[in-house]
């Protein structure tokens, strides 16, 4: 622990401070959007969006390095692919709900396959593992500001549509009967999920995004009385997992991403066991 604090204060280790700060601020979209992902039960949709982002990242790398399109990079590719995936998934939910499951599986695998092919054909070496698991210690100042911008975007839109999103998560059909344009709002929600995933994949990688979207919110859901409490609690838990996980990985000299995921998973298991023992659920 003291080593961890010393590392935080060490002026020669700015990346470490960025990692911790970014982790804390990334916990806001993780907690807030994660709450919707959990109560609306769309973690598989979030999984599909996050994995097919690899296709966009690959296309961006290929365009930039193989074709010399300098203005289009991996981040642009990821944004385009994530928003396209949201649009497809929203349309499937509207018109072919019974095939949703298959479409999720197809997007998931096709996105990853395309990404790997693009990366294979891109000159130079880039390691797909770094996109899958990310490396929070490679975070730059720019990444930190991207996360801050995401915080503002997420809190702004959710603050405005709080009641509306609550209604479409609790009972979409009834919300539609009350005159809410549920299809558009569901699409907006999926786009927010997508933007959260895109920006946070930079921070923690494709696989860990899903863990941090769902695990803190799932734990919080067992204790919260309403969505707002669930968001606040999930955000707090998420930031604790990230900070403690970083500290542990630093002390034990382990990769930070997996340590954070396993810490969150252990907490989830403990929470479930605790509830079972105390007989609350």
């Amino acid at each position: 622990m003291t080593e961890f604090l010393a590392a935080l204060a060490d002026p020669s280790l700015p990346f470490f401070r960025y990692a911790v700060l970014t982790g804390i601020f990334a916990s806001i979209p993780f907690g807030v959007i994660g709450t919707y992902v959990v109560v609306r039960r769309i973690s598989y949709i979030a999984g599909a969006i996050s994995h097919c982002i690899l296709g966009g990242v690959g296309a961006g790398l290929y365009l930039q390095n193989a074709l010399g399109v300098s203005w289009f990079g991996p981040l642009h590719g990821a944004v385009v692919v994530a928003l396209m995936a949201s649009l497809i998934l929203a349309m499937v939910s509207m018109h072919a709900k019974q095939r949703e499951d298959s479409v999720i599986g197809a997007l998931w695998s096709v996105g990853m396959a395309a990404g790997l092919l693009f990366i294979a054909k891109t000159p130079g070496y880039s390691d797909p593992m770094s996109y899958l698991f990310g490396n929070i210690l490679l975070i730059t100042r720019t990444d930190f500001f991207f996360v801050l911008a995401l915080d503002v975007l997420v809190l702004g839109i959710i603050g405005f549509f709080y009641n509306t999103f609550l209604a479409i998560c609790f009972d979409e059909e009834y919300a539609q009967l009350r005159g809410i344009r549920t299809h558009w709002l569901y699409l907006l929600l999926l786009c927010l999920v997508a933007m959260t995933i895109v920006l946070l994949v930079r921070v923690v990688g494709i696989v860990m995004v899903i863990a941090l979207l769902t695990l803190p919110a799932a734990i919080a859901g067992n204790f919260a009385r309403n969505i707002l409490q669930m968001m606040v609690l999930a955000t707090l838990l998420c930031s604790i997992f990230i900070v403690v996980g970083l500290g542990a990985s630093y002390s034990l000299d382990l990769p930070s991403g997996p340590v954070i995921i396993l810490l969150a998973a252990a907490a989830y298991l403990l929470a479930l066991l605790g509830l079972k023992v105390t007989g609350k659920k």
Partner: protein, 253 residues
């Protein structure tokens, strides 16, 4: 029969999913102040009929008018009570927040005004749930959840109350309370309810609509064993409540 337009008027309605015809040439009038119960076998089209009336589905042929308007335009005049069993029992939400959803749809932001809160509390009062307002929806009993959903429909205002299988999975005492509540509401609202419990239907409703591809309406007094057998296609065990099975059968007029 009535000097005003019917509450709900259905003419030559047909609807099917893909190749399967669910409803065929349906004609049905529901009058203001009516209390009508929709019964029929599973897959016979009861829920489909409700969804058509709510405008959640559009007919393949024929017309539906609710107070003379298209269903989508008349939604604000209908209070809808879906089956409570479809809700996620872990969803963190209070009873009051569920009822407030009846006030949605006012503005783009859907924020609730003090009047909206008053309406929601009044609806909770009518359904006897005032003391449960801040309780989690997940922690109350099945009968109370059912009444919460009725309170939500009442909070939305409207002149027609449509309920989909509201007595499924609630105990007998809650069922009796529920009937009293409906009786009171029927003094100012038209009530349309889907149920699979025919015996329950006969004690309160004025008319019964049997839905099985076609819709045939009977006054409750005509409810007989033979009629029930025909509705469900014969193979059915019947538990007699307060009505008698007669030999006369029934007429479709």
């Amino acid at each position: 029969m009535n000097d005003e337009t019917a509450a709900i008027e259905i003419r030559d309605l047909s609807f099917g999913y893909d190749d399967i015809q669910i409803l065929c040439n349906v004609r049905l009038d529901i009058w203001r102040g009516d209390s009508i119960c929709i019964v029929g076998p599973n897959g016979g089209g009861k829920t489909t009929l409700i969804k058509l009336i709510l405008g959640l589905l559009s007919p393949d042929r024929g017309t539906i008018r609710v107070f003379g308007q298209r269903p989508e335009a008349a939604r604000q005049r209908i209070g809808y009570v879906p089956q409570y069993a479809k809700y996620d029992p872990q969803f963190p939400i209070s009873v009051l927040d569920v009822v407030l959803m009846g006030r949605l749809g006012g503005t783009l932001r859907n924020s609730y005004s003090p009047q909206d809160r008053d309406r929601a509390m009044a609806a909770l009062g009518q359904t006897g749930l005032t003391d449960l307002a801040v309780r989690p929806f997940a922690s109350i009993s099945g009968g109370q959840r059912q009444r919460t959903l009725i309170a939500r429909a009442l909070a939305s205002g409207g002149d027609i109350l449509i309920l989909d299988e509201p007595t499924a999975n609630i105990d007998h005492e809650s069922e009796l309370q529920f009937l009293d509540l409906l009786r009171g509401l029927n003094e100012r609202m038209t009530i349309l309810m889907v149920t699979h419990e025919v015996g329950f239907a006969s004690s309160f409703f004025k008319r019964i609509a049997c839905v099985n591809r076609q819709v045939v309406v009977h006054p409750t007094s005509q409810l007989t064993g033979k009629l029930i057998q025909e509705m469900y296609g014969g193979d059915l065990q019947m538990i007699r409540h307060d009505h008698r099975c007669s030999e006369e059968g029934h007429r479709h007029d």
